[in-house]
């Protein structure tokens, strides 16, 4: 047995080395379009597709369906994949395989979404830039960096600008880290939707319509978004008029929203720096539309806002939501606003401790519970509850999200 072991090990080593990672280099120039498509199709697990510096112009979307592949550019300022002339596909790059790393390149002017993963496990977006070069326009694609129905999602050091929905959008996914990224001039900077266990930290979200959204929506195969930590982010000067095409839920977000929590469970907002968000720094709200879905919980459950810093805000409440708020709260809008919607039975009884909204902020932080009637966006009374001390308390914080591709277990 002991004699056999080294031989077996050697065989294994040989087998591994023959299958060892290869680099597939794709340089700019003649036929680069086709060469990159072929490289992404013919890549084997373990390979790295290395895209050289320069501009690459595409007329079709790209896609990767091979596990364990890294797609690496020469830097987001060096390798630019432009989709200005795109005539087909719903996104620039679509990944449908597992353990994929996308890093160090830029994607520009996709007709639909920028970079998407669907059904991926361990997907990493690192040091990417996804930009619509014409600035904020309704004709821009919906999402910049867009993992959906994915698991173990790492978004690190990306830059997204111009998305007509959300710059960084994570939907119907589990175990998510969004960090060290910058989102500007999007409708929503970062959005976590119908997802479980997300850490959104150390990002800068500025000049969007709304900074960070944590939503749960009805009539989707994955619902019950929960356990989200939004912490240590800079959420400042979100001041771009909403340019989302109508019909999309982000269309409701008023210009100058900092963080908005809608119909989610166990959301913790702490250690963030809020400044110059003209409608409100933090809004906690119920899903406002009619829906037909017995499995959906339309009110947020268990929200804990604490230890944030608040600069000037609420000085320019915008749009329909801004009006609904100020009709009750007056101007300037308080730093933290809760629409106060509860389910009708709970209004006449009580809300369980783990489902309540808790706020623990420094002296001088302003607050209003608008006490809205369920689904009607009408107040029960014209006097909001502005006594922040009545909401003191806390919720146990979700454990940090650990990802296998990020030295986590």
């Amino acid at each position: 047995m002991q004699r056999l072991l080294p031989i077996a090990t050697l065989t294994l080593a040989l087998a591994t080395s023959t299958a060892l990672a290869a680099d597939i280099a794709v340089e700019a120039g003649e036929g680069a379009n086709e060469r990159l498509i072929e490289a992404l199709i013919s890549a084997q697990p373990g390979d790295t597709v290395k895209i050289g510096p320069g501009r690459f112009e595409f007329t079709e979307g790209l896609s990767l369906d091979v596990d364990d592949v890294k797609v690496q550019g020469a830097g987001a300022g060096q390798t630019v994949l432009s989709f200005k002339g795109q005539t087909g596909a719903g996104e620039g790059l679509l990944v449908t395989s597992d353990r994929v790393v996308l890093e160090d390149f830029a994607v520009e002017d996709t007709k639909g979404d920028g970079v998407k993963s669907k059904g991926s496990d361990q997907i990493t977006f690192r040091n990417l830039s996804v930009v619509w070069t014409g600035g904020p326009k309704a004709e821009n694609g919906a999402y910049g960096v867009y993992p959906v129905s994915s698991k173990n999602v790492l978004i690190d050091g990306v830059f997204v600008s111009g998305a007509s929905d959300a710059g960084i959008y994570v939907g119907q996914s589990e175990d998510i880290v969004v960090r060290n990224s910058r989102a500007e001039y999007n409708v929503a900077g970062i959005e976590i939707e119908n997802s479980k266990r997300a850490d959104v930290t150390k990002n800068t979200v500025t000049h969007n319509t709304g900074g960070i959204l944590v939503f749960d929506l009805p009539n989707l195969p994955v619902q019950g978004g929960q356990d989200v930590r939004v912490f240590d982010n800079d959420v400042v000067e979100n001041d771009t008029p909403n340019f989302a095409p109508k019909g999309n839920i982000v269309g409701i977000v008023p210009k100058g929203m900092g963080v908005m929590v809608m119909a989610n469970r166990n959301v913790h907002v702490f250690g963030n720096r809020f400044d110059k968000n003209g409608t409100a720094h933090v809004l906690i709200a119920a899903y406002p539309n009619e829906y037909d879905d017995d499995n959906y919980m339309f009110v947020p459950r268990g929200v804990y806002v604490h230890g944030n810093t608040y600069g000037e805000g609420g000085f320019a409440p915008d749009g329909e939501v801004g009006k609904i708020i100020t009709d009750v709260s007056g101007t300037p809008v308080p730093d933290i606003v809760w629409d106060g919607v509860t389910r009708i039975p709970e209004y006449f009884s009580w809300v369980n401790a783990e489902d309540q909204v808790y706020i623990d902020e420094a002296e001088g932080t302003t607050f209003a519970n608008l006490k809205m009637i369920s689904q009607m966006l009408l107040p029960w009374s014209t006097s909001p509850d502005t006594d922040i001390s009545g909401y003191k308390g806390s919720l146990p914080e979700p454990a940090p999200v650990k990802l296998p591709q990020d030295n986590g277990a």
């Binding site: 087909g88 449908t96 979404d113 059904g119 821009n140 129905s149 007509s164 109508k246």
Partner: protein, 351 residues
């Protein structure tokens, strides 16, 4: 006509010198890890240019086919001798290893005369290997003598006379390998779409005479477990104006949308499910708000707003030819006005 053609070709084939085995389907080519460079290596046709199948290659058609920029399509199935596909009432049949599904896309010079001056553009081949299905596209040369593998897809400039008699020119897109999976995916695995009981349950004009396809496949021994056609599910031919509007619209959506828009498909996250059997009105889109539509919403609030096609995102996206808006996302660059008219009528009549 078909008989004559075949007879003529037979003579040509004899002159070229192929023996009896020259036109046998190559199971080696079907099962090879690397696909053949040339379509002819499969041996599917005794005459590729005229789409005359070799022995063991059975032509078929679908009651309601996918719209692909008005392309004419020639479909064939090859099941290894002595084996059969297993019948399924809802999904594509379970075909044995060694099966090939072959589909040629072609354009007549004048769309109003589909049988005349037909130019073959591409032949797509789905082969069933041990590891699952593989999808390959072969693009025909100008002489129509051979088609060559194109893993990265291709663009073909076309100029024909449209159905309205006006010149119609556009760039036809041959899909790359990954794009094939963009539609041909069920739970992440490549899978056939067309050969489902409901879509095959119609008569086909075989050289021997018209016969129901389920019955023909069963008699030919390539399908097992099929009930009599009368007991199998069926859908109307979507263009059949004698059929109920709703059934016509739903079979059109089933074929053109539900490969992605189903619970196990690439668009599962949308919550919009358009399979023939879907019963939930919200899942079909009635009163359903968009999720990730972006500008594809066209400023409309619902996928389907009953009675109001112009307020329905479904119509907006089926009418569009703009990347990022149009649905399906790939597979067409043109709008099908007849389909739009049908869907419009369906939504208009909806209460």
């Amino acid at each position: 006509m078909r008989r004559l053609l075949a007879a003529g070709l037979f003579a040509v084939a004899a002159i070229i010198g192929g023996g009896g085995s020259a036109h046998a389907v190559s199971s080696e080519a079907i099962l090879a890890a690397k696909p053949p460079k040339l379509l002819s290596e499969f041996g599917f046709f005794v005459d590729g240019a005229r789409q005359v199948p070799a022995e063991g290659v059975v032509p078929y058609h679908l009651a309601t086919p996918l719209f692909t920029d008005f392309a004419e399509k020639f479909r064939f199935v090859h099941v290894p001798a002595g084996q059969a596909a297993t019948y399924d009432p809802d999904e594509a049949f379970d075909f044995p290893v060694g099966t090939a599904l072959i589909k040629t896309f072609a354009f007549p010079a004048d769309l109003r005369a589909p049988d005349k001056d037909v130019r073959l553009i591409e032949t797509r081949v789905l082969v069933r290997q041990d590891s699952g299905w593989q999808a390959w596209a072969y693009v025909w040369n100008a002489d129509q003598t051979e088609a060559e593998l194109k893993i990265a897809g291709a663009k073909v400039d076309l100029a024909v006379t449209g159905k309205d008699g006006a010149p119609l020119s556009f760039t036809y897109a041959v899909p790359n390998k990954n794009q094939c999976k963009g539609c041909h995916a069920l739970n992440g695995e490549v899978t056939p779409l067309g050969p489902k009981a409901r879509n095959l349950n119609v008569e086909h004009p075989y050289p021997s005479g018209a016969e129901n396809q389920l019955a023909h496949w069963t008699a030919a021994g390539i399908l097992s477990g099929s009930p009599a056609p009368a007991d199998a599910p069926s859908v109307p031919v979507w263009g059949d104006t004698a059929a109920p509007t709703e059934a016509r619209a739903r079979t059109w959506l089933d074929t053109n949308c539900a490969h992605c828009h189903r619970r196990e498909g690439p668009a599962s996250n949308s919550g919009l499910y358009l399979t023939w059997g879907e019963k939930d009105p919200v899942a079909i889109g009635i009163g359903k708000r968009p999720v990730a539509a972006g500008r594809g919403s066209g400023d409309r609030a619902f996928d389907i707003d009953p009675g109001h096609p112009d307020n329905s995102i479904l119509l907006y996206r089926v009418e569009s030819t703009e990347a990022g808006v149009m649905m399906p996302e790939i597979g067409r660059t043109q709008t099908d006005p007849e389909a739009v008219a049908l869907l419009r009528k369906w939504v208009e009549e909806m209460r």
